[in-house]
């Protein structure tokens, strides 16, 4: 076996990893106090005007079911609830953190990448709904960010990223497989690093870290399991492209544990398609 190149130390030493706005921390703290009012949260969010306007744009999209009806953040909290608004703020912040293009890399279409990510989020949300999970909003975020590790490599080490794309294409293998063959770190771990730095909840972190290897996931299994399946379905339907043209093999236990083995798949596909259409609004944030 040829020696694998070290990317890990390079990635660990990147000083300008994208950050999330401080308002996220503030809201999280506020939400830990049961006496916090909708107004206080609203105020905290509106201190970041750019973020607040994006949140309102999302809140008023078809995706959240109240198109054009909500005019203030406080109003949004009253109608949608704290948890949902916090998730929306987080979603808008993630898009902000990765806004803009990196270098041109042969064979990589950033727009297709985002489409794949958004579609995977929408599909994760549909699967969560389909199996009656209450975590559907978090599943959307988990699906949306499952591949952020790829973006970190793309932005900071574009040449290595390009060699990964080329290797995947030339050998008809998954991007993930190319990573394990060429380097000492995968996009799962790179994304996991960022998720940890961002202090994201454990279920989101795990979904990033184990979406290709769900059997290694020890706790907060459900979100990871759902994203694992959503990624595969979204690839089968060619919703966007995350960097390779293959489909990973499903983990049979995961599929069965979610109850997908004896479900009406056509109905699930239908709801995924609908959800992706509704997620149109997110492309405007990229």
């Amino acid at each position: 076996m040829s020696a694998r190149k070290s990317l890990k130390s390079k990635l660990e030493n990147i000083s300008n990893l994208p950050t999330l706005p401080t308002v996220i921390d503030r809201i999280t703290k506020l939400l830990q106090n049961p006496k916090t009012s909708a107004e206080e949260i609203g105020k905290a969010i509106t201190t970041d005007q750019a973020l607040a306007s994006k949140v309102l744009k999302l809140v008023n999209s078809a995706f959240y079911g109240f198109p054009g009806k909500i005019s203030t953040i406080t109003h949004a909290i009253v109608i949608l609830g704290f948890a949902t608004v916090k998730n929306i703020v987080l979603t808008a912040s993630i898009f902000d953190a990765f806004r803009g293009k990196g270098k041109n890399v042969t064979g990589f279409d950033l727009e297709q990448f985002w489409f794949h990510s958004i579609a995977c989020g929408a599909a994760s949300q549909s699967i969560a709904k389909h199996i009656g999970s209450t975590e559907k909003e978090e599943c959307f975020i988990a699906g949306l960010i499952h591949d952020i590790g790829k973006l970190i490599i793309y932005r900071n080490l574009p040449e290595d990223f390009e060699s990964l794309l080329k290797h995947s294409k030339d050998n008809s293998v998954l991007f993930y497989q190319s990573e394990t063959e060429l380097f000492d770190i995968t996009h799962q771990e790179a994304g996991g690093m960022l998720a940890e730095k961002w202090n994201l909840p454990k279920n989101l972190r795990n979904a990033v870290l184990y979406h290709h290897t769900p059997s290694q996931n020890r706790d907060y299994y459900l979100t990871t399991a759902i994203v694992h399946c959503a990624d595969i379905i979204v690839r089968a339907f060619d919703y966007g492209n995350g960097g390779d043209n293959r489909i990973p093999c499903i983990n049979e236990n995961v599929w069965k544990n979610l109850g997908l083995d004896d479900t009406n798949l056509a109905a699930l596909f239908e709801s995924i398609e609908d959800e992706i259409k509704k997620a149109t609004v997110f492309i405007q944030l990229t």
Partner: protein, 106 residues
């Protein structure tokens, strides 16, 4: 005003009618100026036609080529080739194939 396929959107064209997404929300409003990259985004989101300002011209038949069942099968087969021996992947393959087939016949 003329109706054009989203692939033919060029930089500087002006939108003649609102573009609506599922459930009626407005994605782009009338009067917005368009660009090729925006056209690609619209296609990604399943929007195939838009109305732009300007004179009506005769368009050749709108997207004539639909994928035949055989083509669909072989395209999918290529994607699944490494995993088709797994019973669940096989099931998934069949379900996706049938779903796509049914959609394309509508």
């Amino acid at each position: 005003m003329k109706k054009i396929s989203a692939e033919k959107i060029e930089d500087g064209m002006v939108l003649g009618r609102d573009v609506c997404g599922a459930s009626g929300s407005i994605l782009l409003s009338k009067g917005s100026s368009l660009s090729q990259s925006m056209g690609r985004r619209l296609i990604n989101w399943g929007i195939s036609f838009v109305y732009v300002e300007g004179e009506e011209v005769h368009e050749q038949e709108e997207n004539s080529a639909t994928t035949s069942p055989e083509e669909l099968r072989s395209q999918l087969m290529e994607k699944f080739s490494n995993t088709i021996n797994n019973p669940i992947m096989k099931k998934l393959f069949v379900a996706v194939y049938q779903y796509k087939l049914q959609k394309s016949s509508k």
